[in-house]
Symmetry: C5
C-alpha cells in the first residue's frame, strides 16, 4: 500500500473539507510563480507571502497563471482558495495527493486532477506526483508537489510569444498544460516498451536468465500504474470534449481532441505491452519446462546406457563356482561386447519411441 | 455459505413483509440513541421502550437522528416503522442482515443499505455487519447490528457543532454517515494491501514459504468480499448523484460526488491488488517449478558422475581369468584415472548441452 | 446434450405453433387445480376434463388461479388456450419444456417462463423443470411438469387469508409465485456453497483427496446451470419493473423490486462461488505439483547418499593385484568412513544449494 | 484460411459491384424453382433460361417464392437482379459466399444472409454454405450454393396449405425460412454436445485416451464456427424485431420473436459447451499430471528399496583382507537381514513424509 | 517500442501544430500526382514545386485527386495545407506517421487516417505505413509515406472510366480508396491464417518442432497489430455511416456499408485466428508435457528392470565364506532366473498400477 493511502486513513474522523496536507513533503518551501499576459506583454512575479496573495490585483483583459510548487502550507492554500473563490472540497483534493485523475465542474471554474510519473532507477518503480489544474474564465491555477520541469518549455513559449500563443487565452493555456503532461507519458511508455522488447529478444533467443519472471512482473505493475493514470485522464478529456459549459472555445476543442487521441494511443500501446508481457510469460514458462524436459531426457539416456552394463559387470562379478565365459581367454571382451551391444540396442529403441510418441 | 444465508432459506414460505430477524444476534439489548438538533442546540436522549417511540414528539425545524444498535426485537422495529411511516419491505430488509448495498426510493424517504467490515484475526477473515440508513426530509434513522464506533466521531462533531455542522440538515448528516463508512474501508483496503506487499517482497526475493498459496487465496477472497460491498455502494452513490428527488440539496451533492470518487478509488485499489495477487501466483508457481528444475538437474549431475564410474568399478570386479590391467602394479590407478576422465568429459558435455538447449 | 434438446430437434420440420409436448412425461395424469378468491372468500375446485374447462364461468370481481401439473395432454392445453385466449406460440412454449426464462407481452396477458431445480443425489446433478406463468388482468395460470411443493405455502396463505392477501389481486399473486421460486433458489445456492466450503477446508488443510478435480468440475457446472436460469430471470424482473403496461400496480412493483434484489444477490453469490472454485483449482493443482516436488527431492536425496558409497564399494571390489588399503587391518573401516564422509559432505552441499536456489 | 477467403483476395482490384462468383462451385447446373401462391392456389414452375426470368409475369395478389440452387452463372444472376430491381451490391454479396449473417435494408426489399452447416465426417469439420434471402413486399427470393433439404418440409407445407399457411404472405414465408434454418442448428449443437458429453464421461472416469486434447481442440473450433454464424443471426433477428419498416406485420413479429429466443438459447448452449470443454481441458491436464506424479513416486519407491541394498551387497563384495561377518557361517543372512531392515525402515519413513507433506 | 514513437517523444516541448516530419523517410523525393476528372474527361499532371501548388487552378465541376508520396518536405506540405485550407493539426497528424486510424470532421472537409501493412520476410514482422485521406466537397487528397501500389488499380479504372466511375464524384473516390485498403487487409489476414493452419496441422499430427512457441507468439503479435489497425478503421466507417454531414451521398453510403461489413468480417477472422493460436498453445504445451511423461515412464521401466537384478548380482558377488547356491553347478542359472522372474513380476505390477491410476 502506498504511503499516501496510509496517510489518508489517518484522516478518518476529520470533518470533510478540513485542510490537512496528506502526502509526503517533497520540496522545502512552497514556491508561487505568477504569470499574467495578453497579446501585448507578459508580467512575471514570484509571490512568497499570504499577504501578497490577499492583495493580488488583476490586470484587466489579461490571462493569469499561478503555479504552486509544494503543498505543505495549509494557510497559503486557504489564502489562494479565498482569493479565487475555490470550494473547500477543491482545496481538500489538492492537498490529498492520491486523487485519481478527474474533472469537477464548479460553475465558475473547472477543477482537473492529473498525475505525473518519474521512473526511480533505485527501486525500479514509478513514483507519482499529483498535478491539480484549475481553469477559470481568465485564469489558470496549477498545483504540484515539487518542480518537475514539465511546464518549463511552455513557460518559455509564453515568454517568447511563439505563434502568438499569448493571444489565445486561459483555455488554450490549460490545453497546453495537458498536452505537456501527455507528451511526458509517451517517454515513459517508450521506456517500458524498450525494456519489454529487450526481454522479448532475450527470451526468443532461448536464454532465459533467472529473474526474468520478476522482471515481467515488475513491468506489468508499471503498466498497470500508468494505465490507472491515463485511462481516467482520457475520460477527463472526453468529458471536456463533450461538455458545453463554455470553458473551452470551439477552436481549442480541436486541440483537446488531439490530446484525447494521444491518450487513446497511449492506452492501446499499454495494452499491447501487457499482451506482449503475458505472451512472454508463456514463452518463459515453456522455455523453463523445455529445460526440465531436456534434463529428464539426459537422465534417461544416462540410465539407459549404464544400468544394463552395470548389471552385466555385476553378473560376471558373482562368485559362483561354475559360470560361463569366465575361463575363456576372450571372456572379458565377450562381456564388454555384450554391454556395448545392449547399450546400442536400447538407445536405438528409445530414439525410435521418441519419434513415435 | 455464510450463516446469514442459511437463515434466509429457513424463511422460505413466510409471507413477504413478515418481521423476523434473520441474522446472528450480536448485541445483548437493543440501544436507541436519539439526537435532535438545529443551529441553536442539540437534544440527546436514550430511548428504551416501545412507548417512548410511540410518544415521540418532534421539535419543529430540528433534524432528528435516531440510531439503533441491535435488531433482535421485532416489536420495537415495528414501533419505529409505524412512527416514521416505513414500508413493511423496508423493515424486512433492515432485519434480514444479508442485504447487498442498495438504495430504494419510497417517495417520503430513501432507504440505503451499506455494509461494515471487521478483520477477525482469529479466522483471518472479514466479518460483515449491515448498516441501514433511512433519510427523510428532516430525519435520519440508522440501524446497526452492534456498536462499531464508526459514527462516534461524527456524533462528537455534532455535539461540538464544529464548522457549524448542525446548520446543514438531514441530507448532510446522511452524507457524513456515508463518508464515515467509506473512510473505514480505506483502512481495510490498506491492511489487505500491506499483507499483499509483504507477500510480494518475500516472493520476489525468491524464498517461497509453504502456505503462500493459501495466503494468496485468502487475500483474494477478502478482496472479493470488499469489492462486493463497495461496488454496489458506488452504484448507490451514483444513483443519489443523478437523482432529482430533492432529498439532497445541490451543495450536499458536491460532497456526495467526493464520496463517490473515493469509492471509485477504492475499487481501483482493489483491482490493482487482485492483479498483484494474480501476478504473485504466477511468480510463486514459477518459483516452485524452478525448484523442481534445480533438483532434477542435481539428480542428473549425480547420475552423470557416478554411473560410469560405478560401471568401471564393476568391470574390474568381474572374475574373468584373463583381464587387462589387473596384474599391472598401477592398474588400480589406471582405473581410477579412467573414472575421473569419463566423469570430467561427461560433465563438460552436459554443461555444453545445457548452454545449447 | 440434455434429453429436452434431443426432442426439440425431432420437431424440426413441423409448422410453428403445432402442439406437441416436447419433454419427459414426469407425472401420470395432468392435474388442474382451480382457486378463485376475493376479500370475501375462496372457492376451490379440481378440474379433470376438457368440458369443465370449456364451461368455466368466471365469478365477477374474483381473482382466478389455475394451476396445471403435467403437460402431456395437448387437447387439454388447447382447451385452456381457447378458454383464456392464449396465442398458439404461448401454448407451444409451455409444452416445449426447455425454454429459457423470459417474459413475452401479449397485450391481454404476460407470459413468463422460469425454471425450477432439484438436486438429484444419485447423479449428483441438477434436474430442471419448467414453470410457465400467465398473468392476465384478473387471472393467473401456472403450468408445471409435476408437483414440486413450491407453491404449497402460498396456497395455504391464500386459504387462511393471512395479511389479507386475498385482497391484493392477480399481480400480487404473480409476484408471490416468483418470490416462492426465488426463495427456492436460495436453498440450492446454499447447498452448492456448503459443498464448496467443505472442499475448501479440506484443500487448505493440504490433503488433496483424489477426485477433488472432478468434484470442482461438477460444482462449476451446477453453478453454470443455476446461473443460466437466474440471470435471465433477473432480466425478466427488470423488464417487469420498467414496463408500464399496467399488469403490475405501483404497490406491487415495490415487491417485485425486492425479488429483483434477491436475484441480483443470488447471481453475486454464484459468481463468488465460481471464483472460489477457480481459486481452489489453483490451490489443488499447486498442492499436486508440490507433491511431485517433494518426491523428486526425496529421490535426489536417496541418489546423493547412495551413489558415491556404492561406487566406493565397487572400487574396493575390483580385482587388481595391487590396491591400497586392502591389506591394512582397518582398511574396511577406512572405506566405510570414506563413504560416510562423502555422503555427509554431499548432503550438506545440496542443502546449501537448496537454500540458495 | 478457408477456400472462400483465398478467392476473395483474388478479387482485390476489381471494381465494387462486379459480378464474379467467389466460392466453390458445389452443384452442376443452377436450378431455379418458382412458387407462386395465395389462399386459393399454388402455381409451381422450374425456370431454366435467362429469357424465362426476363419474361416473368406476376400474378396479382400472389406471393412469389423463387429459390435458386447454384450461383455459378453471373448472367442468370444479373437477369434476376434486373427483374426484381436488386442493387449491384446485393448481387455481389450473393455471389461472394463468405458473407457473415447480416440484414441490409434497401427500401424496396430486405437482404438477409445466413449460413448453413454440414458436419463432414471425413475431415471431422463443419462445412458451410451461404443462404441469401430477399424479402420484398410480395416476394421472397432465396439463393443457395446447392440443394440442402432445409426448405423441403416448408415447401410441402405450402403445397398442402396446412394451417392455411398460404394465406399468410411473404413475411410469414421469410419467417418460416429462418425458422427452418434455426431448427437445423439445434441438430448440430446437439451433435457437438453429444460428443462433448462422451468426452466428459470418459475423462471423469479417469482414463484419458491419447488424442483427447486434439478432440477438445476440434470441438472448440466447431463451437467457434457455429457461434460465428448464430451470433450475428441473432443480431439480424433483433434488428428485424425492432425495425418499423413495414416488411413484417405485427402478427409475424410475434413469430420472429420466437426464432429470436431460439437463437439466444442456441448461443447459451454453445457457451455452456465451451465452458464444459474448457473444464475438461483442466481435468485432462490434471489427469496427465497425476500420471507423472504416480510414476515419479514409483521411481522413488524403487530407488528407495534397492539403492541401500545394493550398497550393502557392494560393501560385502569388497576385497579387504579383514572384514567383519565374512567368516561367520550366518554372515550372509546377517547381510540379507540388514538389507531387508533398511528397506523397511526407509519405506516407512517415506510413507510418513508423504503423509506429512 | 517502434521507431515512430521514439521520434514522437523527441517532439515533446514543441508547440502544437509545428510541422516536423516524425517518421522514417521511406522515399527519396516527394512525388505529387494530380488527377482531375468529370464524366467528359480526365486530366493528369505531376507537380513538383511549391509554386505549382500555389498556382493550382481548379477546373469547375471536376473532381480533383492529389496523391502525395513522401512526407519529408514540410514546406511542400505547408503549401498544400494553405492551398486547400487545412488546419495546422491536420498537417501535423499527416506528418506524424504513427496515428491510429480515425476520422476528424473539420466542417469543410473530413480527415481520415488509415494504416497499410507489408509483411517483411526478413524480420518476419509487419511493417506499417500511414495513409491520410482528406475528403472535401469536390476534392480528395491522399498522403502516403511511399508508393505501395494499393491505389494503382483504382487509377487505371478512373483512366478507363469503367462503369462510368468518373461520373460518381469525390465521395465515391474516397470510398474506393478505403475499399482498396480493406481488400489489401484480406490478403494479409489470409497469409497469417495460412501460417496458423500449417502450425495447426503439424501440431495435431503430434510432432512439435522446437520454435513452435516462438512462432505462435509471433503470429499472435501480428494479429494484435492488424487488429489495432482494423478495429478503429471499423469505427471510422461506422462514424461515416451514421453521420449526416453531407460528405457522402445516400448512394455512396450503401457502398460504405459494404466496406464496413468487410472490416467486421476481418475482425472476426482475426479473433478466430487468435482463438486458434491460443488453442494451439494449449495443444503444444500438453504435447511437451506428454513427452516428459513418456520419458519419466521410460526411466521408471529401466530402473524397475535393472535395479533388482543388479542387487542380486551384487549379493552373489559378496565374499561371505558360506553362501547358498555358490557351489551348485547351476547356481549361476538360478541367479539369472531369479533376476528374470523379479523383473517380470515388477513390470507386471507396474503395468497393473498404471491401469489403476
Amino acid at each position: 500500500m502506498s504511503h499516501d493511502k496510509k496517510l489518508r486513513s489517518q484522516k478518518a474522523g476529520l470533518e470533510p473539507g478540513s485542510l490537512v496536507h496528506l502526502g509526503e513533503v517533497k520540496t522545502s518551501t512552497p514556491t508561487l510563480m505568477l504569470l499574467e499576459y495578453d497579446s501585448n506583454g507578459l508580467y512575471e512575479q514570484e509571490l512568497s507571502s499570504r499577504e501578497q496573495i490577499d492583495g493580488l490585483v488583476r490586470r484587466p483583459g489579461c490571462t493569469l497563471w499561478l503555479n504552486v510548487y509544494g503543498l505543505q502550507d495549509p494557510d497559503l492554500m486557504a489564502a489562494i482558495g479565498k482569493r479565487f473563490g475555490l470550494h473547500p472540497l477543491v482545496l481538500e483534493d489538492i492537498l490529498n495527493t492520491d486523487q485519481r485523475p478527474k474533472v469537477d465542474d464548479y460553475e465558475d471554474y473547472l477543477y482537473l486532477v492529473a498525475r505525473l510519473f518519474d521512473y526511480v532507477p533505485h527501486s525500479r518503480q514509478l513514483a507519482s506526483d499529483q498535478v491539480s489544474i484549475i481553469l477559470g474564465k481568465d485564469f489558470v491555477l496549477t498545483f504540484q508537489e515539487r518542480p518537475s520541469g514539465t511546464f518549463g518549455a511552455l513557460r518559455e513559449r509564453l515568454r517568447a510569444n511563439r505563434n502568438q500563443v499569448r493571444r489565445l487565452g486561459a483555455d488554450y493555456l490549460a490545453y497546453s498544460l495537458l498536452d505537456s503532461l501527455v507528451d511526458r507519458y509517451f517517454a515513459l511508455v517508450e521506456q517500458v516498451g524498450d525494456h519489454a522488447e529487450i526481454l522479448e529478444t532475450s527470451l526468443i533467443n532461448r536464454r532465459p536468465r533467472p529473474g526474468v519472471l520478476q522482471s515481467i512482473h515488475r513491468h506489468k505493475r508499471q503498466i498497470t500504474t500508468l494505465r490507472r493514470a491515463i485511462w481516467p485522464l482520457r475520460e477527463v478529456l472526453n468529458v471536456l470534449l463533450r461538455s458545453h459549459d463554455g470553458f473551452f472555445r470551439a477552436e481549442t476543442v480541436l486541440y483537446l481532441r488531439d490530446v484525447y487521441d494521444h491518450t487513446v494511443h497511449l492506452i492501446e500501446s499499454l495494452e499491447d505491452l501487457r499482451d506482449l508481457l503475458t505472451g512472454l510469460l508463456d514463452v518463459y514458462l515453456s522455455a523453463v519446462s523445455n529445460r526440465v524436459n531436456m534434463e529428464v531426457r539426459a537422465l534417461t539416456v544416462v540410465a539407459t546406457i549404464f544400468m544394463p552394463a552395470t548389471l552385466i559387470a555385476g553378473v560376471f562379478g558373482m562368485n559362483f563356482h561354475v559360470m560361463p565365459w569366465l575361463e575363456h581367454p576372450d571372456g572379458f571382451w565377450f562381456a564388454m561386447g555384450l554391454m556395448g551391444a545392449i547399450a546400442t540396442i536400447m538407445l536405438a529403441a528409445f530414439w525410435r519411441r521418441r519419434l513415435i510418441g
